[in-house]
Amino acid sequence: MLNSDTLRHQTVWICEKWSDEACDFAAKKLERSGITHVPAELREIQTPTRTLYVPRLMPIYEGIPSSVLREIVGEPEECAEIQGNLLLNEGIQRLQDMTMIATVVTNQTATNPWSNANAFTGVGDSNTAEAATQTELQAATNRFYKAQNATYPSRTNQTVSFQSDFTGTEANYAWAEWTISASATTASGAGFTTGTTNLNRKVASLGTKASGTWTLTAQITFS
């Protein structure tokens, strides 16, 4: 009989919410200073010789990122903290492929990591229970994957943090499930609707976003 050792992991999800009024206030203040665009998520630019990652310049009428809101408005009006998630098989396998195998064979991929340009935070409106064999958010239509904010994901000790801003018209529905994905496809606005390799999934109610900027942070700790 096999002895079963335990790899412990815990995830804390933090959802910070700035209202539409807070975003309007920041936008007007920026406008008065002559600022019409602010840096948002990074985008990939291919030159003949290299790949560059530069922030997308987002018009202030489209949305205000959390970094700017924190500077102009201050702390979010509401902050929710929820613990837990289920690691999905495809995410566990990708972690193992990237760190523990000698040779890549069929159905293995030792690339495509959860890097800044390649990691996404996805949010959907399905409350179907978390299951390890799932490979996607379970919402049929209302799901949205957003790129990481600058400097994320980051690691401190054994904790890796992911963070994305959902601004203005993005993901305006009930937030009932969320995930971290490596790569995303099917463009939709400044994000995507399909996650490629999902690390984990959490089901809980974070409320219904109708406007403003909501920032979702996932802190994953292994021990």
């Binding site: 985008r43 159905n107 991929t109 495509n112 409350n127 978390e130 299951a131 939709s188 390799t197």
Partner: protein, 129 residues
């Protein structure tokens, strides 16, 4: 108004075919664990969600096997590579002794088990480009 017990459908118990976490009641299920209809109801799972989990192979009945990804492989079990190599070695032995080599063995020996450079990378970047 609640229906009399005699009119209610018989309680259904599913079998978890993978790791499941039930929201609201925050209960973990391991592959093979029973999942009762009452637990699913307490976890606020709609019939639509339950049907989706059954269709996806997350929940099954007692006779269903757990998902293959949760079966821990025996380290000594043969790999495709070792089977092909053994077939080639066996063919060499048979040919050396002048014995007939079955066609099935030659087919296995010709299998290409070379490691592949896979690339399932999704495309990220500027969605507005």
């Amino acid at each position: 108004m609640a229906r009399p017990r005699s009119e209610q459908p018989a309680s259904v118990t599913y079998k978890a075919l993978t790791y499941i976490h039930l929201p609201v009641i925050e209960v973990d299920k391991r592959p093979g664990d029973p999942v009762t209809a009452e637990e699913l109801e307490s976890a606020e799972q709609s019939q639509e969600s339950i049907d989706a989990m059954v269709a996806a192979g997350t929940l099954g009945s007692e006779e269903d096997d757990i998902h293959h990804s949760h079966i821990i492989p025996d380290p000594s079990m043969p790999t495709i590579g070792s089977v092909v190599e053994n077939s080639r070695r066996l063919i060499a032995q048979l040919e050396a002794t002048g014995e007939e080599v079955p066609d099935e063995l030659r087919v296995v020996a010709k299998l290409d088990y070379t490691a592949l450079a896979t690339g399932d990378e999704g495309k990220a970047g500027d969605a507005n480009a």
